[in-house]
Symmetry: none
Subunit: 134 residues, 2 copies
DNA sequence: TAGGATGTGTCTCAAAGTGTCTCAAAGTAA
DNA sequence: TTACTTTGAGACACTTTGAGACACATCCTA
């Protein structure tokens, strides 16, 4: 099957009682084909940002250049905020487990939404997503 | 048969109980000849916009690059707006399936209208189309 | 070392998606 | 008109997907 290499679209997902969700088949097939099961989860303002590990490494090449003289109020501050709460994770048995503290950080309950963002994807609680998109 | 390379005209189509429609032969022959079966469906205000995947890739070349740490108000938000409303799909067995949530987004029931728009085409519910064109 | 919280593998069943056939209607050529 | 071809709606059986359930594993702390 010929498919695009981009994460796209909005898919409602259900988070189970252990904090996992089934990776939608469209997303899973892109991970299988273009990347692998290794992922990085970042906590952003009101959603979670999930990158394939390879994409993370790519991005890192850019922000690693940030030198020690950058002032503390700008980008460095934002980076610290994100990196300090980021974790590695893996897709296992077609599912992704979101650690409890990250779920709490963005108020993820059972009903959630996965939003494709080209080379990464985001997980929103349904409430937050309705605010964002509505 | 004289064949144009452009999607043109207005064709009534019937959406079946699973959410598929038969691609009108005029449209199908343009897809077969000039493009292929890979498509992108975008949810617009009150209709769906379907582009051949190639056309989408062309547009994508101009996109901004996203950064893990960028603010959520700027380019990320703009990009999310576009990407979250797009889904890729394929014409299969001469039919296109419109996912349930996209059908709901624009109120597509059984009676619909396909409108050619040169290098893309649109799907309207009959009611919306009558408002738009009438 | 027992018991809770967290994390993992696998199964089931309904819903979503897919391939193919039929038949009547529309279109086309002689 | 008549005979032949193409088209499109519907039917139907099959496959894939995803939510939920459940049993088991691991880790931590008391």
């Amino acid at each position: 099957m010929i498919e695009s290499d981009d994460f796209l679209g909005t898919t409602p997902i259900a988070i189970d009682d252990k904090g996992r969700f089934n990776v939608p088949s469209r997303i899973k097939s892109i991970l299988d084909r273009k990347y692998n099961s290794d992922l990085i989860i970042c906590v952003k303002e009101n959603y979670l940002l999930i990158s394939p590990h390879n994409e993370w490494i790519e991005g890192k090449k850019n922000w690693e250049k940030l030198d020690t003289f950058d002032d503390d109020d700008g980008k460095r501050k934002r980076m610290r905020k994100v990196l300090s709460r980021a974790t590695e994770c893996q897709m296992k048995s077609g599912k992704i487990l979101i650690p409890a503290n990250q779920r709490e950080s963005v108020g993820l309950a059972k009903e959630a939404v996965l939003v494709g963002m080209s080379n990464t994807f985001e997980i929103w609680s349904r409430e937050q997503w309705e605010k964002e998109s509505g």
